[in-house]
Symmetry: C2
Subunit: 170 residues, 2 copies
Amino acid sequence: MADGRTASAQSGENLLFLTDEQLRQGIEAMFFAYRGFTADPDRILSDLAYGRAHHRAVHFINRAPGTTVNNLLNILGVTKQSLNRVLRTLIEDGLVESKVGKVDKRERHLFLTEEGQALEQKLSNAQRARMRMAFRDAGPEAVAGFRTVLEAMMDGDMRFAYTRLRDSGT
Amino acid sequence: MADGRTASAQSGENLLFLTDEQLRQGIEAMFFAYRGFTADPDRILSDLAYGRAHHRAVHFINRAPGTTVNNLLNILGVTKQSLNRVLRTLIEDGLVESKVGKVDKRERHLFLTEEGQALEQKLSNAQRARMRMAFRDAGPEAVAGFRTVLEAMMDGDMRFAYTRLRDSGT
DNA sequence: AGTATATGTCAGTGTTGTTGACATTCCAAG
DNA sequence: CTTGGAATGTCAACAACACTGACATATACT
């Protein structure tokens, strides 16, 4: 470890990609790339009175219309108080509609209004444009690797939420 | 676009990996993976009086010892007021040392103390452990693709900062 | 001497997250 | 039918971290 390599020259396989130096580069790549990942939506949101939390809520409500507050809570991984503040403003501003559940009237099912869908489109178009450019530049094999590593980096709960969403694809 | 595909069956090449559905999955993968990426350091930091901003500062000071405040500002992409608040507590707590520059006495060069290095190790060991596991599970080809896509996702300034750090590797 | 740069600091504000406490509504088990 | 618990919403307080704007200081460059 003092030489900056935790694993190398083992079992005939080349494990140089697991050196501390390679891991550090991966960590810094994640840090810088995430900034790029959020930069475009952040720019749009700063003009409005919204932030990243509003973007996330709108994204996942659009992704799974009619989802309950509790479900959204699990996906976003925040407290209900934090989510509630965001949802309240979105509902007040007419971007999100909250409908009382039919089978269980305690539950509130969340939907985007037309105005909410318009904002979601605006935000996700910007984010997709950057992702599309990155994917195109990198090519399909790199994209497959990208996805594989990201999935391996998730916590169990997150991976479950992710795959559940992924496999319910349109 | 109404069918969820912006590009497909073009120029003899298979561009199915650029559909809106694939891009959406990439976006959600980034979101969930970044949570996993920061989860372990966040747990450690929550016990101390520090947050993610302190982690970032300590990381990059360790990465480039003697760096100036201005340089760190560019790397982190925050305001000097925000960084100064973090640096002040780290210096007060004896984790970071600030030395007046020799050639330019306006500049302050930043170094980690032994205590600061200990915290950096603790944090980066946790983060590297997860990254190592993800890399090992995914394999070298996937890791290469992961890096390629992340680099393509960065803004120009960030990519410059990233490659400059990367190419100054130990 | 005058301008520009690097840094630090103070005051105010906004978004997002946290805990803790409490009310309401409603399903379900006893 | 009553009671316990689950789902949701609300209020209050607080902390972390970002922002803007203004200003001070020391130093460097021209």
